[in-house]
């Protein structure tokens, strides 16, 4: 693939809308062409700038939902009651559970070589969302989260707040993976949640990041300084990569 063709398809590549052969060809071209690489870097920087700085995410005012309920209720003279916020959440959780079931099924039957730890990470992440038990310690203060986790686990881990990089710390919890108790750090990326599972690995040697994607969920894992790190989220793959880089450089 030449420069003209690469740059013509660069937006689709950036937006993860290019088909696999095209994406591979563009990736290869970018590796060998400094000029196209610079164009891609500029576009990536623009994207990150927009996502970080745009005055966009405010969220609906609380009264708005109430007003919509009242209007719909008034017009339809319903026999039913609009569910309370708590019920909304459980409805959401049920929908999430349904999504999770089909998604774990897809993982199990996927052609990709199955990775037992990846499956456990997926299941743990899904379980926390379905049950709403994402945080046992909810705090954006690393000096609260880190001691809490250290007191429950037989290892200590870095707990940087990555708010500066767009990933504020939300809290942490304990989980059970790979036949042991592990730390789960919870970060936010705009409206999304990123779980980062951390536990020690006795085997020597670092491992470069690897990824796996299923139905909108991305998993990224690496091994560094005797610790396993597994990040999972429904943010896009580029954001999850940015998150892992921010974490790895901050810790």
């Amino acid at each position: 693939m030449d420069c003209t063709e690469t740059q013509r398809r660069l937006h689709a590549y950036l937006d993860q809308e290019a088909d696999r052969p095209t994406a591979t060809a563009i990736g290869q071209h970018l590796d060998s062409c400094a000029r196209c690489q610079a164009v891609f870097a500029t576009q990536s920087a623009l994207r990150n700038g927009i996502r970080r700085h745009a005055d966009y995410h405010h969220g609906a005012p609380r009264e708005l939902a109430e007003r919509i309920r009242a209007r719909v209720g008034g017009e339809h003279k319903p026999r039913w009651q609009w569910p309370s916020l708590g019920q909304w959440l459980s409805i959401g959780a049920a929908a999430a559970a349904a999504a999770v079931i089909s998604w774990t099924a897809a993982i199990q039957y996927a052609d990709a070589p199955s990775n037992p730890v990846a499956e456990q990470v997926l299941a743990a992440h899904a379980r926390s969302i379905v049950t709403g038990q994402q945080m046992q310690v909810a705090s954006s203060d690393q000096h609260t989260v880190k001691p809490w986790l250290s007191s429950k686990l037989d290892f200590s881990l870095p707990v940087p707040d990555l708010a500066g990089a767009g990933f504020p710390l939300a809290g942490g919890r304990l989980d059970y993976l790979d036949n042991r108790a592990v730390a789960a750090l919870v970060y936010r990326s705009r409206q999304h949640v990123i779980d980062l599972f951390v536990w020690p690995d006795a085997k020597a040697g670092d491992e470069a990041p690897r990824t796996l994607s299923k139905q909108g969920y991305h998993v990224l894992w690496w091994k560094q300084d005797g610790m396993n790190y597994w990040a999972i989220s429904d943010v896009n793959a580029a954001d999850l990569k940015a998150f892992s880089e921010a974490y790895a450089s901050a810790k």
């Binding site: 689709a12 937006d15 870097a41 623009l46 745009a54 909304w88």
Partner: protein, 195 residues
């Protein structure tokens, strides 16, 4: 690709008509309530006004509820945002017909090869202290048609297919608008630095 019907005018049902009020309400909860924030944010962005955004969002939700039976079960988020957009334009033509601020040139040249690495490093501009102001000023200067594809892509995380549904344009147009919008944004960012 399932076509979006904003109002319940078409009822060639592929699924049984939901008549029971309770299950309609539950269906509405399941499909649309999770996207209320997105609907409000998008309405706020389109109208540039909090009060108007609430009205548009409320009206859009009522329309969504009324036309629930024609929802074909693709993306609830894209469907609701499409209704928000239609509601906004209805409001807009009623209230501000002459307010088209920025001229829009759909066919402006946007050959891919024109994407050049800019003279001034965008990375550097975006690291400066007033990056936030600059990014928002650059977005503000985009014609509406370009702003909305950028918003739907970068801030609502929609796929090209979903953006095409919301904006009522073919996917090819989504792609060319995105490319052109990004080019304009880069120019705007570099120009605001000089001023």
């Amino acid at each position: 690709m399932a076509k979006i019907h904003v109002l319940a005018t078409t009822r060639k049902e592929t699924r049984p008509l939901v008549t029971d009020e309770r299950s309609r309400a539950q269906r509405f909860e399941r499909i649309f309530v999770p996207h209320l924030d997105a609907a409000y944010d998008f309405a706020r962005w389109l109208s540039r006004d909090e009060r108007t955004a609430e009205d548009i969002c409320q009206e859009a939700c009522l329309r969504a509820f009324k036309s629930l039976d024609s929802f074909q079960g693709e993306s609830g988020r894209a469907w609701l945002l499409a209704i928000v957009r239609n509601t906004y334009y209805t409001w807009f033509t009623k209230n501000k017909a002459d307010a088209a601020a920025v001229p829009f040139d759909e066919d402006g040249t946007i050959a891919g090869a024109e994407l050049e690495a800019p003279v001034e490093s965008i990375e550097r501009i975006l690291q400066q202290r007033d990056a936030r102001r600059r990014v928002n000023a650059a977005l503000e200067r985009l014609p509406q048609e370009f702003r909305e594809v950028i918003v739907l892509r970068e801030l609502e995380d929609l796929s090209y297919k979903e953006i095409a549904e919301v904006a009522h344009v073919p996917i090819g147009t989504v792609m060319s608008r995105l490319a052109r919008a990004r080019k304009l944004l880069l120019q705007h960012l570099q120009n605001t630095e000089e001023s």
